[in-house]
């Protein structure tokens, strides 16, 4: 039996794998795609660390900015740990060869890394590699994993966690290529499965696959989730395609303007405030644009080459000469799997969670740009170490095959039953419901409507199925399983949003426009024993 099964092969999973292996653990990284396909590749702007390479900065300022942006919902000890670990995390990334952008300051090591301004930051703190920071970190981590001979199992879709006496024993997977249902036994499991932003189908910067598979699996296995209602809307996605334009565009000096060409908000405020300001302009019938023309073509190509390309390709706009039409869309899920100080899942011993899927309570009600790449690397390492500590003393007696049999039967049913209702239109409908009614500005009446619609959809789900009955390489089946997970999580988000009669960070509710001290707490959800046994 392997020591640690890491589910998810993005930046968090790869970092955890490297640190666990270094600690002496046997590790397998399993994912539904290939390692470099993950959401981490889409992170653009940077990774925060108070290095002070460009002007004065201190770890204490990084901590203070993060706490301020979290609006009372972070755990200050976790924030302190993440921010204090940041400089060493960057030094480690520097040692494995991440090709950061550089200053000409004649310093060596991490001292020469360029740092840029991001929203809500009191210093130029985000280390970057042009606007490809996530891509370049992810690929360097992957190269390092190959060097360290980490075992990968690609194209395996997580079905369920296996637990016994509230302790994790492994998980079941659908081998996408063969259609086989596999059980993998492990002493510890690390969830690094990403967020659930793709619930907002059509209105998100996220890749198709960010459907909260791991968060849903934890709920089904009896674990807790928390702060599910806190969804970050990124102020600047391209209007027609929802493709992300990095916050660094504003950090480097870009403006937000309305149709009249007027600026209407301090562009460097945290994302929740900027997104709301744009939303209210749009409510007034104004179109909103990002204006980076004054930066000049040379600077744009130097600092934001990817953005320039994406604008030309998807909006037919040359950012050096024209305004970029934008809208705010769902970008990051602050909530997720509820974990303790060791990143162990509350409710499932031996199961750890890290990255966007987890709620380590470092982002609170609103995440700062540049803190997510930091979380996946700083806490990825921590999760790997802690999972190994658990593995050392865990039982090596494997679980029986009950869960595998149950899952095999369920997949078989999907592949044999006649499809009555095509689920794809519902996936789109779910995205619309969420963007319209569980969006940037919320109202209780709309939230209740959304909840009813989602519950109706869950009832209809029993009649939904797949038209493709192929045993092997069945993407139709995977799309459906992802949709089921999204639909399972939908009510947790809405009900938490209904319960939160206040406005805090990314959660803003009409009629309750200020923070309520009595609601300065996490909404934690967990299924009862009867529900998890279903």
């Amino acid at each position: 039996m392997i020591d640690i099964l890491i589910i998810g092969s993005g930046g968090a999973g790869l970092t955890a794998a490297l640190s666990a292996k270094e600690a002496g653990a046997s590790v397998t990284v399993i994912g539904k795609t290939y390692p470099t396909n993950s959401q981490t590749s889409m992170a653009q702007g940077g990774i925060n660390a108070a290095l002070g390479n460009v002007g004065e900065d201190h770890v204490s300022s990084h901590i203070a900015d993060t706490i301020k942006s979290a609006h009372g919902l972070c755990d200050e000890d976790m924030v302190r740990q993440m921010c204090a670990d940041a400089p060493e995390t960057i030094a480690w990334l520097e040692r494995i060869g991440v090709p950061f952008s550089r200053l000409d300051n004649e310093k060596s090591g991490a001292g020469s890394i360029a740092q840029r301004q991001m929203g809500g930051a009191s210093a130029r703190r985000a280390c970057y590699a042009q606007d490809y920071t996530g891509l370049k970190i992810l690929h360097t981590l992957y190269d390092t994993c190959l060097k360290e001979e980490i075992d990968f199992l690609d194209e395996h879709y997580l079905l369920n966690l296996i637990t016994q006496d509230d302790t994790v024993k492994g998980a079941t997977f659908l081998d996408i290529r063969t259609g086989e249902i596999k059980q993998i036994d492990a002493k510890s499991v690390i969830m690094a499965t990403g967020g659930y932003g793709s619930l907002y189908h059509g209105f998100t910067t996220n890749a198709y696959g960010s459907t909260g598979d791991g968060v849903a699996a934890v709920l089904r296995a009896g674990g807790a989730v928390s702060d599910m209602e806190f969804i970050q809307f990124h102020p600047t996605a391209l209007k027609h395609s929802s493709i992300l334009i990095s916050e660094s565009a504003r950090g480097e000096g870009g403006y937000l303007v309305n149709e009249a060409g007027k600026r209407f908000v301090d562009e460097l405020k945290p994302r929740d405030e900027v997104a709301r300001a744009i939303f209210s302009q749009m409510q007034e019938g104004q179109r909103v644009f990002l204006d980076v023309r004054h930066l000049g073509e040379e600077k744009l190509m130097e600092l934001l080459p990817q953005e320039v390309e994406l604008c030309k390709m998807h909006e037919h706009v040359d950012p050096a000469k024209e305004l970029i039409p934008i809208k705010p869309v769902a970008h990051y899920t602050m909530g997720g799997i509820d974990v303790d100080y060791a990143l162990e899942v509350n409710g499932i011993k031996g199961c750890f969670a890290v990255g966007e899927c987890s709620n380590a309570k470092v982002h609170g009600a609103n995440r700062l740009g540049g803190n997510s790449l930091l979380e996946i690397t700083a806490f990825g390492k921590f999760a790997g170490e802690n999972a190994y500590k658990h593995a050392v003393y865990a039982s090596s007696k494997p679980a029986d095959i009950t869960q595998q049999q149950k899952d095999s039967a369920e997949i078989k049913t999907l592949l044999t039953q006649k499809e009555s209702v095509n689920f794809y239109p519902y996936r789109e409908m779910l995205g619309n419901i969420f963007y319209d009614k569980v969006g940037i500005v919320r109202e209780n009446a709309q939230l209740h409507e959304a909840l009813n619609e989602v519950i109706t959809m869950q009832v209809t789900q029993k009649e939904m199925g797949i038209a493709d009955k192929s045993q092997t390489n069945n993407q139709n089946l995977i799309d459906f399983l992802e949709f089921q997970n999204a639909l399972l999580l939908a009510p947790t988000i809405i009900s938490a949003a209904i319960a939160r009669d206040e406005s805090r960070g990314a959660h803003y509710k009409v009629g309750f426009e200020s923070e309520d001290e009595t609601l300065k707490k996490h909404i934690v959800l967990q299924w009862t024993k009867e529900e998890t046994c279903k």
């Binding site: 396909n37 590749s41 090709p99 190959l146």
Partner: protein
């Protein structure tokens, strides 16, 4: 508008009809899957040209489906030289093995003082998204399936020229067999790369480094022997004569 897609089950091109208007190929494929034919199989990810998932061939040229705008009559096929798993979905395992074989990573880190111009030296190479377009475009695979290939060699170049690498020789050692000398410098990889990377140039640079480390072009040594008999591992011993 109509496009044709190569279906693996029948090995024929199937015709599909799309509404008129500008549409990225990836959206078109999703539209077909959602509304016309749920069995059509392809890989999709970020929609923003950065996850490397969705490369296919359009009219014989490699394209990222998320970045390519569909034109009437387009013929869509899977990438070449990869086993087809189903329709446009391919198996990248063998292609990915080239990264491990060429040991394209930082072997022995030394602290270095890096500058803006050092960053520029491999900025393009590190834009690689491992979409495998170059691998599909490379004609060497028609004759040598074990060729390390463009993306692995570009990555080997990126690490071997990193000032933080104190052991560039190991990388150079590992890209001799089925590596830099097997490339024909035809430039198809450079044409195919959606990120504007130039593997042909990187391979040329690696040849230069190889010579500096004492290797030479095996095709010259083969020619000098004047024999077509390559039996026994192509008769090239990189350490021969040293």
């Amino acid at each position: 508008m109509q496009i044709k897609i190569l279906r693996s089950e029948t090995n024929t091109h199937q015709r599909y009809t799309l509404p008129a208007g500008e549409i990225p190929l990836l959206n078109a494929l999703s539209y077909i899957k959602e509304t016309q034919d749920a069995t059509l199989t392809f890989s999709a990810g970020c929609r923003a040209s950065v996850c490397g998932t969705c490369a296919v061939r359009v009219n014989g040229r490699e394209e990222l489906a998320c970045a390519y705008k569909v034109k009437p009559g387009d013929i869509i096929e899977p990438l070449q030289y990869h086993p087809v798993l189903r329709d446009l979905k391919i198996d990248k395992d063998k292609a990915k093995e080239t990264l491990a074989k060429s040991t394209a990573w930082l072997h022995d880190n030394q602290e270095a003082s890096l500058t803006h111009s050092d960053e520029k030296l491999t900025e393009k190479q590190t834009d690689c998204i491992l979409c495998d377009s170059c691998y599909s475009a490379c004609p060497v695979y028609a004759v040598n399936p074990d060729f390390l290939g463009p993306f692995a060699l570009t990555r080997a170049y990126r690490y071997s020229s990193d000032k933080r690498e104190s052991d560039a020789k190991t990388i150079i050692d590992n890209i001799q067999s089925n590596g830099v000398w097997d490339c024909t410098l035809c430039g198809e990889c450079t044409m195919a790369c959606p990120k504007g990377i130039d593997p042909k140039m990187d391979i040329t640079m690696l040849r230069g480094s190889s010579v500096q480390f004492g290797y030479d072009d095996p095709s010259f040594s083969q020619q000098s022997f004047g024999t077509p008999d390559f039996g026994g591992g192509f008769g090239f011993d990189p350490n021969g004569g040293f």
